[in-house]
Amino acid sequence: MNKEYILIAFTENQIGVLNRITTCYLRRKINIESLKVSESSIKGISMFVISSYTSLETITKITKHVSNFVEVLEVSYYDSNDLITQEIALYKVASDMFSGSERVDTILNQFGARMVELTPKYIVIEKTGTREEIEATRDKLDQSGNLIEFTRSGSVVLHRKSIDKILNNLIQNK
């Protein structure tokens, strides 16, 4: 049965690693839904967060495959319940939306968002939330006919257990 799995890998911050990891998905014809690479809490070590819809069997194989790569320090897969997952989204909306009787603050509060830019033509608002929350806001704005542009960060995740400890152990052991 296919469902969302999130692969988290810690690797040396070296050129080519991203390419190598994505080939594991590509060769099995699995679409990557979101991908985020950034420096982890330890300098020089990158953290990859890759989400895809696939089967348990396939994600297990991909994880083992990725663990073989020379630059990979640690890799595991999770399902969405294991992780605290948040995304940041930016919505550009027509300023008309705020021309009615309601106050801007009230509208922003409804969405759990804040304003980051205000111009006569448009307003950019920012929201942090789960993927579902981000999507719900997007749908609402879209239906109101005011959404001009939309962009999102991809998942920013934190494991419920402390990953820093895993990482430190890992560097000492390897």
Binding site: R20, R27, K61, V70
Partner: protein, 565 residues
């Protein structure tokens, strides 16, 4: 610490190779590696460069060298087309765990990404088919990159590494000092064995009534041949081999029961299906070995020992996976193993051998005796070479007959493209093997199709005066495909017949002694001449046009569905 001195990048590359003990390179020059070739000119007494006739020849030669010697093979090519000509060999080395370091030239760093003349993005292209790859853009990076390349290529599960060196890095000067790489914090090539798993394995083996030891190339790669035999003897365990494992155990060892898989022996496949415990070491349960996985070894528990975690459970269910180096695991297992008689199990093995002889071997070849059969050639060659030669095969029927009927006394004596099944592998791989172990007899056995895929390497054999023996099994067909067409496509021989040139004349044009034989009565004498020839020698053997290789497990079928004719 070595002293430092200032040298050009090209020279730093050669000094690094020498420091790794790699004093043989197979290569082909071009614009973006001329600086390296210029340095090679000065280093000709310390590095032997063998000029092949095609970069594919160079990479397969490096593979053959690695497979015969156990050392890392090295090949060198220019950027663009030179580099892309390596691709087939790199993919082949990846699937067959062959340690090679492929060095390619690249356009100057300042021109990367500009579609410069002969620019090809070698790092991107080889990412999925290398164990590691790296682009060097400055001279100072060269020693470190080469040290890492060799360490990664040969440690753990070996594999190919590509080092792409931009031209400016070859020309610039930098301080040179060499330090071998022995550790990378993100890479743990030697697994830590789980001793409790070893204990469970010992219990399972000691209580098995019908155990079968299945070995692959991992035995050779971990130099565990002797340990394996000691283990099998102590436990009284029959041994079967994958295609890649052939020659790790001498054929005449009483516990060796033959080869597994699509064209394996009857005993090995039937015993797999009947076994109650499979102990698989250094092999990867490829589809050519298992047939239909769902019906594979239905009565057996499976212990799988491999150095590569990704192989454990990849292709089939495993009851006890053990991530370990083969040698270390075998030594630990041997300590606890008990001798168990299992007379019935061995009787089953000899019954199955008798069945194979009766149903297959005795009937193979030309019933009228007019034409030579491939089976006969390989059998008689084994006798003529007294099982001491290195046999390098191409791909197709020639390969499967060679696997089934060759006989070996020594390890690392069967060299073949197993995973990728690369036609054209045989001739250049044999060149590499002969260069690596010149004291041994090396015979390339090829089909008329595959021989012509890298036939240009006859030029390399001529120039290097190699003393390589070559057999071309000429059936005027792409035999293996024709067999599948006969068995599964109503004998519709679509584009599988070959009009061939005069192979003897071609060999002679390259100043290589050659002969042709077509009569069974003259085969022995012809093979004797090949064996006794002083220098290189090519024997074209006109064989039956439509011989089939059996036993056979049709692709995707259960091992129980072996066919004999």
């Amino acid at each position: 610490m070595a002293n430092t001195k200032k040298v050009k990048g090209a020279e730093a590359l050669l000094l690094s190779l020498i420091a790794e003990g790699a004093d043989i390179i197979f290569g082909y020059p071009g614009g973006q590696v001329i600086p390296v070739y210029d340095s090679l000119y000065d280093y000709s007494t310390r590095i032997r460069h063998i000029l092949t006739r095609h970069e594919q020849g160079a990479v397969h030669a490096a593979q053959g060298f690695a497979r015969a010697t156990g050392k890392v093979g090295v090949c060198l090519a220019t950027s663009g087309p030179g580099a892309t000509n390596f691709i087939t060999g790199i993919a082949d080395a990846m699937l067959d765990s062959t340690p090679i370091v492929c060095i390619t030239g690249q356009v100057p760093a300042a021109m990367l990404g500009s579609d410069a003349f002969q620019e090809a993005d070698m790092v991107s292209m080889t990412t999925p088919i290398t164990k590691w790859n790296f682009q060097v853009t400055s001279a100072s990076e060269i020693p470190g990159a080469i040290a890492k390349a060799f360490y990664i290529a040969r440690s753990g599960r070996p594999g190919p590494v590509v080092i792409d060196i931009t031209k400016n890095a070859q020309i610039e000067e930098a301080e040179f000092s060499y330090e071998p790489c022995t550790y990378l914090r993100s890479y743990l090539p030697t697994p830590i064995i789980d001793h409790s798993a070893i204990d469970s394995a010992i219990d399972m083996i000691n209580s098995a009534a019908k155990p079968l030891l299945i070995i692959g190339q991992g035995i050779k790669l971990s130099n565990a041949e002797q340990e394996l035999i000691l283990f099998a003897e102590r436990g009284n365990l029959p041994i079967a081999s994958t295609l890649m494992g052939i020659s790790a155990v001498p054929n005449n060892h009483p516990l060796f029961i033959g080869n597994l898989g699509m064209h394996g022996n009857v005993a090995a496949n039937r015993m797999t299906q009947d076994s109650d415990l499979i102990i698989a070491i250094g092999m990867r349960f490829s589809d050519r070995i298992t047939g239909d996985v769902k019906s594979y070894a239905p009565n057996a528990k499976i212990i799988h020992i491999d150095i590569d975690l990704a192989e454990l459970g990849k292709n089939l269910r495993v009851d006890l996976p053990i991530k370990a180096d083969a040698k270390e695991a075998i030594q630990l297992l041997t300590e606890g193993i008990k001798h168990v008689e299992r007379a019935d199990w061995f009787t089953f093995a000899s019954d199955m051998d008798a069945e194979e002889k009766r149903e297959v071997t005795d009937n193979c070849g030309d019933p009228k005796g007019e034409y030579i059969s491939m089976a006969q050639v390989v059998q008689q060659l084994a006798i003529a070479e007294e099982s001491n030669a290195i046999i390098v095969t191409d791909v197709g029927q020639n390969q499967m007959f060679s696997a089934l009927y060759s006989r070996f006394n020594h390890t690392r004596s069967f060299i073949t493209s197993g995973g990728l099944g690369t036609m054209g592998y045989g001739l250049p791989a044999a060149i590499g093997a002969k260069v690596g172990v010149p004291e041994r007899e090396v015979v390339a056995i090829m089909g008329d199709g595959g021989f012509q895929m890298n036939i240009q390497e006859l030029g390399t054999i001529m120039q290097e005066n190699l003393g390589l023996k070559m057999i071309v099994l000429n059936n005027s067909f792409l035999g293996m495909v024709r067999q599948w067409q006969e068995l599964f496509f109503d004998a519709r021989y679509s584009f599988t017949n070959l009009a061939n040139p005069d192979f003897v004349a071609i060999a002679k044009a390259y100043n290589i002694n050659a002969a042709q034989v077509s009569s069974p009565a003259e085969l022995n004498k012809a093979l004797e001449e090949l064996v006794n020839a002083e220098g290189s020698y090519l024997l074209e053997i006109r064989v039956m046009a439509q011989e089939n290789i059996f036993p056979m497990v049709p692709a995707g079928a259960s091992l129980s569905k072996l066919i004999y004719k």
